[in-house]
Structures are given as structure tokens and as C-alpha cells.
Symmetry: C2
Subunit: 428 residues, 2 copies
């Protein structure tokens, strides 16, 4: 029986979950992989800290090179996070011919291609299922099950924090600030939530997904990103009146040789399967030529799901080690696509505005849209009590994005419009 000796970098909540799974299911893992899986060393900051799992203290080390340069170890699991240090460690591990598993989406979104190439050169595996939507086995699905199909669009709710915040704003009518504090209290949001609420985390996941789905090199700079900090509970309420739910949605679409990747608060029709994905859950909706529409739903992250993803990757690596075929499943993208120009993007849009409640004001609005050839789909209007303005919410039909943005700028200048904002609308 071949030996798989694991070096674990990082012993936080996910690391603890991984150790727990490896200990509890030892026999079952050996049966499934044909390998003896041994946890050799764990990199920690402090060797004397109390741990939530029973671990032989001699396995702990504060010296990363005791792991990276250890000839006994053939698999490294990286769970320290961050970019620069993790990058250096993984690169060194690969050059030392060690297989690598990582849950680090920041790293994979920035250096994924380079590291995959390095892994292949060294005949090593590099798996990273846990980096996107820990609880959903989406990367394996994209590489294996959809391999004979052609994906043309993915729509994802891939950030649990923002989905929790928007869900609470919608279901309980909380303000953004209150929903954020609630998320922080329950551990669904960091004390500094910037990377989540500004959409950066979701954008990194869309980069990793797009890279795999379309077999193309993708950079974070290719993604147009807008966070949820400007979404108010009123936006959510008025969208609801028109039959829509606001979610932070990542869209990645390929057409006519161009790619368009966006993360932004988006209106989904209530009947869209993604509209009912609530709280900290994640889901990814995939459109492909032959399969049509498929959806994958599960917990966004958390100790348990992320640890399961890491151990699934370890099982794959162990099977490859048993068969002596590590590094053979790494697929390096080749094709080039350019980013789609906004002038080619078509979409529906949701406009919310306050408009002076006086005779003729509405026709100024409709005149403008008619002149610009933008046709209106749904419309909701209600007077705001004891004020001279009315609340107006509009869903346009599909229109060109640049044309829409120009028209929206003109709309804001109309004397009857007090203030206005807009969001993109995803079709059902």
C-alpha cells in the first residue's frame, strides 16, 4: 500500500476540520484510495495553544521548511490564506515535487495559471476545489462532468456574507448596517467586511470559475465589480413589488468570441432558481449547449464544507499517487478571448427614482425613453405621503448598455427627477 504523507500549513478552523475528517475516517479513506494516509506535520504559529482535536504535539512545527523541504511528505495542504507567502510556499512545494491542495481563492485568482503550469512541469497535482463555494463541488463538475459540453454562461451567488445581508434586508426589512452587524455577530462576516461587501471575493471566484469553464486565462482586472454597499432596503422592497429579488450576482458569459464577467447587485425574477437561494448559501447556475440549465446549491463556506472539499481533493491526489499518475489531470487553458465591450452588452435594467408629483412629469419621462428607443416593461408608482414627490420603479425591456447609460444620465438631468439609481436585471 502506497503512503500519502501530508503536511498541513495552518491549523485554524478549516485545518481542525481536516484533521478531524482524516482521523475519523481513516479506514474508509484507505479503502477508497488504496493508500495509507498519514498526517506528518502541521505548521502552526504557536505550538502550545489549546487545540480542539487530539494531536501529537511532536507533529506541530513553527518552521515551514520542516514541511516544504521534508522528503517524507508528498502532499501539502495550504490553509494559511493570503497571497504572497502562500504563493512562495506553494511554488517551493511544487518545485520539491510535492502535490498541493489549497483552499486559497485569492491566490488561485491571481496566480492560478502560473502555479498549474509549475505543477504540470513537476508532474504534481494542484487541486483547489475548496477555493470556490466550499460546500458545492463545482470545480470538479466543470472539469469532469461538463467536459464534453460547451458552457456559455454561469450565474453565481458565490459570496455567503453578502447573500446573508441581502436576505435579511429582504425578509426582515433590516437596514444594510443592521444586517451587516447581524452577519458579523453570527460569524458570517469578518470585522473588516470590505472584500465581501465590495464584491472582490465574489469576483475572484468568478475568475476561477471562468478560467475552468471556458479554458481561458482570466484576470481579476477582466471583471467589472460593484458591491452591495449602495443597496437600500427600499431598493429591495420596490424590486419585490415588480416581482424581483436583489442578489449580489456574478455573471460570466461568452458569446461571439468575447467574454463578459461582472459582479454586481442584480435583480433576479422571483421564479429564477437563484432567487430562492437564501442566507449564507451559495448556488451556481450553469447554461451549457447540450445539458441546458443545471444548478448546484449548497453551503457557501464554513469549517465543515471547506474541510470536506479539501479532503475530497486529498482523495483524488491519493488515488493519483496510488496509480502513479499525478500531474496528468492538469489542464492548461490555451484559447484567448477578449473582453466584451459595453457597447455590445444588452440587458434589462431596473430604475428607482423620486419624481416630482405634478401634472406632466410622467410624460417627460416617457418622452425621453421613447426618443432613446428604450421600451419600458414593468412600472410601479406610488405617492410618498406628505411630500410632493412620488416613488417610481421601472423595469426596462432589453436594451443596449451604453444606450441605457446615456439615457439614464439624461434622465437624471430632467427637472422633474429628484434622484435616481439603477441596477442590472437578469432574465428569467
Amino acid at each position: 500500500m502506497k503512503k500519502v504523507s501530508v503536511g498541513l500549513l495552518g491549523f485554524g478552523t478549516v485545518g481542525t476540520g481536516v484533521v478531524r475528517l482524516l482521523t475519523k475516517d481513516k479506514e474508509r479513506l484507505e479503502e477508497r484510495t488504496g493508500c495509507q494516509i498519514q498526517l506528518e506535520k502541521i505548521l502552526v504559529r504557536n505550538k502550545n495553544r489549546a487545540r480542539k482535536v487530539l494531536i501529537d504535539n511532536r507533529k506541530l512545527t513553527t518552521d515551514v521548511y520542516e514541511i516544504l523541504d521534508n522528503p517524507k511528505i508528498n502532499v501539502i495542504i495550504e490553509l494559511i490564506g493570503g497571497i504572497d507567502q502562500a504563493y512562495r510556499y506553494i511554488l517551493r512545494a511544487l518545485k520539491n515535487k510535492k502535490n498541493v491542495i489549497t483552499a486559497n481563492k485569492d491566490l488561485m485568482a491571481s496566480y492560478g495559471e502560473e502555479l498549474l503550469l509549475e505543477a504540470r512541469t513537476n508532474h504534481c497535482d494542484l487541486y483547489y476545489e475548496a477555493s470556490v463555494a466550499g460546500g458545492i463541488p463545482i470545480l470538479r463538475t466543470l472539469t469532469d462532468s461538463l467536459a464534453s459540453d460547451r458552457i456559455n454562461k454561469m450565474i453565481g451567488i458565490v459570496n455567503g456574507t453578502t447573500n446573508y445581508i441581502l436576505s435579511k434586508m429582504s425578509s426582515e426589512g433590516l437596514s444594510y448596517e443592521k444586517a451587516l452587524s447581524s452577519a458579523q455577530r453570527l460569524g458570517f462576516a469578518e470585522s473588516d467586511p470590505t472584500s465581501d461587501v465590495e464584491g472582490l471575493d465574489a469576483a475572484r471566484k468568478m475568475v476561477i470559475l471562468s478560467h475552468l469553464a471556458y479554458s481561458i486565462p482570466v484576470q481579476l482586472a477582466d471583471v467589472s465589480i460593484k458591491g452591495i454597499t449602495d443597496v437600500t432596503r427600499e431598493d429591495i422592497q420596490f424590486a419585490k413589488k415588480l416581482g424581483y429579488t436583489i442578489k449580489l450576482v456574478g455573471v460570466s458569459e461568452v458569446s461571439n468570441g468575447a467574454i463578459d464577467i461582472r459582479v454586481e447587485p442584480t435583480l433576479l425574477p422571483d421564479l429564477h432558481p437563484l432567487a430562492s437561494v437564501e442566507n449564507e448559501n451559495n448556488a451556481i447556475y450553469v447554461h451549457s449547449e447540450a445539458l441546458g440549465q443545471t444548478m448546484y446549491y449548497g453551503a457557501g463556506a464554513g469549517e465543515g464544507p471547506t474541510a470536506v472539499s479539501v479532503v475530497s481533493d486529498l482523495i483524488s491526489v491519493a488515488r493519483n499517487i496510488a496509480l502513479n499518475v499525478t500531474g496528468n489531470h492538469i489542464f492548461i487553458p490555451k484559447k484567448e478571448l477578449h473582453s466584451r465591450k459595453d457597447s455590445l452588452v444588452e440587458s434589462q435594467f431596473f430604475i428607482r427614482m423620486h419624481m416630482k408629483d405634478e401634472p406632466g412629469s410622467f410624460s417627460k419621462l416617457t418622452d425621453l425613453f421613447r426618443e432613446q428607443s428604450i421600451s419600458l416593461g414593468k412600472l410601479y408608482q406610488e405617492p410618498i405621503p406628505s411630500s410632493d414627490v412620488a416613488e417610481v420603479a421601472i423595469i426596462t425591456h432589453i436594451t443596449n448598455k451604453v444606450l441605457f447609460e446615456n439615457s439614464f444620465a439624461m434622465l437624471k438631468k430632467l427637472d422633474v427627477v429628484v434622484n435616481a439609481k439603477y441596477f442590472r436585471v437578469e432574465r428569467g
Copy 2:
């Protein structure tokens, strides 16, 4: 570059789809597998029939042994369906050391274990992703991604025909008969729909899923099966009034070393993720220890999805051939579980009945339930115009199944009860 020579058994709609994918994506498939994939022979009934894809007539044969015993061919794709013949063909192919891919759920539900064992003995692959929910890569997910987790329950809408019928009865208020004809007209139901509407098709899929999820031998006889022919549009309407949707649901659950597999019309709370799976779509909801709840959603079947699943399996087989590791990924279940006794099953139930609309009739009902220690959750009552009976719909709290069935038998004997029926209710 290694050669993969494919023999195709059956050239109907799925077979045509497979040929189309193999032709269209030849280069991409070679790039992804490292093999040259060649379609060698196709078994047909009639060589002169017009075909929807361009095919060299010399590749067609009516003699199955030209394929099964052909030394050139190393992969057989079985798409003829049925049990006995397919079983003999596949067994012979495996004994001749050919890898096999099948979409045949009837066969796999009956002879899966034996064929998998035969495949392993001969160092051959046997893949059957397309046999369950063609459009959802669920088998691969169970064997790979959830390998380190422990599944304890699966709830599936795994039959597109019945889901289409129930959806139409619910959304358009059609009768069972009209919904069935509509399904037949659109090709979602066979002219003889028995195996679908009686729940047999769904039961076979639950056998295959349970076998993989729990690594145990499962037989069709282990499944308690009830079809949808007794479900009326009134049942659906009254369930709706209490906040539930009726679906043909397969449940497979393991607890305390016992397994319980059932296929029956079941009430799902409207907010349950499976409740919104409409029309011919399928979805499988998996509860596992570490991942928690995940759901996989997609088209139930159809030419496109089934062909993609078959070709995904072919890609896996080709990769294994390239690496010389066929037959290594076959996992034979070992553990034994016994079927859970009904006396241990607990559930909520939905009762629909007509009750005489006279003083005291309701208390006869509630007295009975109190004596039997069954507590009622939701209740809906409405008089039926110009009659002396009222419509009553009840959802019980969780109760023991045997206790419930005994009480229901007593309820039917009450003089105020005109007629009554019940369904199981799945928790949210």
C-alpha cells in the same frame, strides 16, 4: 497517442446525440483525454434507415458480435435499453476486456453489483452516469466530491414525466388524465407510461443512488413504491392552501444502521428547495454530515443531457485508458444494512377527507386523534356548496407511521367521515 475505439449499441436519439458530440468536438476531446477517439461500429436494427447525422454506412452493423467480439474495439457504449439482452451483451463485453458505458438504469438497478464486480475482475471500467437524471452529474458527485463525507439522506425528484404531470396539474389545474396526455403529446411521457407514473422508474434511480451514496447493496425490493395515479388536482389544491406542493419524491435515508427507501407522492413545504423544481426537471437534495445540505438541479433526461453524460463517461474511460488504469475506480460496496421497519419510521402526514357538516362531527375527529396521541399541525376546512359535507385538510405533527396508519383506519370508520386519503409530508 493511445487509441480509443468505440462500439455503439443502439442508434436512437441518444445514440445520435453521442455521435454528434464525438464528431463535433473531436479535437477538443483528444486534447482533454490524450487519446484518439474513433467510432468503430454501430449496432442498428436496419442499416438502410435514414439517419439524422452523417455516418459512413460501413460502420453500421446488425450483428452485435461484430462489436462485442471485435478485438479492435476497447469501449462499448450500451444504449439499447431493456434488461436481459443488455445484460448478456455487457457481460460478454466485460469478459472480452472491453470497458463499458451504459445509460441503462433498469439494468444497473437489477444487476449493477454483479456487473461492477465483473468489470473489476477484468480490469475494465463500467460507467453509468447517464442512468440517473441524465442532465445532473450526480453519480460522479457522490463517488468523488462527497467521498470524505457521510451522506445520511437523499431526497430526489428523479422522474421527469411525473414531475411534468404534477406541475401541470398544479399550475394549470389540469386533471391527471389531461396532464398525462399533454406530457405524451410533448414527448415527456411514453405511450405506455406505467413505469413512470407507478413510480418504478424513480425507484430504480433511488436504488442506484443509494447503492453509491451508502456503499451498500440495494435491491428494488427494498423500496416501498407508490405512484401518482391516485393524486387528484383537489389534493394538490388543498395541499397548496396549507403551504405545500405535491411531488413524486424518492427518499433514501439511513439511521441507526437501517435504511429506508421510499418513492411516493409527498407534500413538500413550499419553501423547500425541491418544491420549486418544475416541469420535466429533476433535482436531488443531499444531506450529509459535513457538507450539510446540497442540491443538484437540471434537466431530467432528453437526448442532449443523456448524450453529454455518456460522453463525460467516455472521457473518464479514455483518460483511464491513456494512463493504463481502467478498472481501478470501481468501488464495490461491502457494508450491510437492513431495511428500517415501518414501526420505526416517523413522519408528518397530510389527510384529506370529506366530513359530514353537522354539529359535533369535528370533535369526533379531534377526540380520535387525542386518544391516539397524534397532534395536529395545520388544518383547513371549507363547506362544499349545496351538499351536507365539508372538505377537511389536515397536516399532522411528526408521528409514528404504524400508529398513524392504525389511527387513519379508525378515522375512516367514523360515521361522520365520508371518504379520506393521506400522503406523507416531508419536513422543510
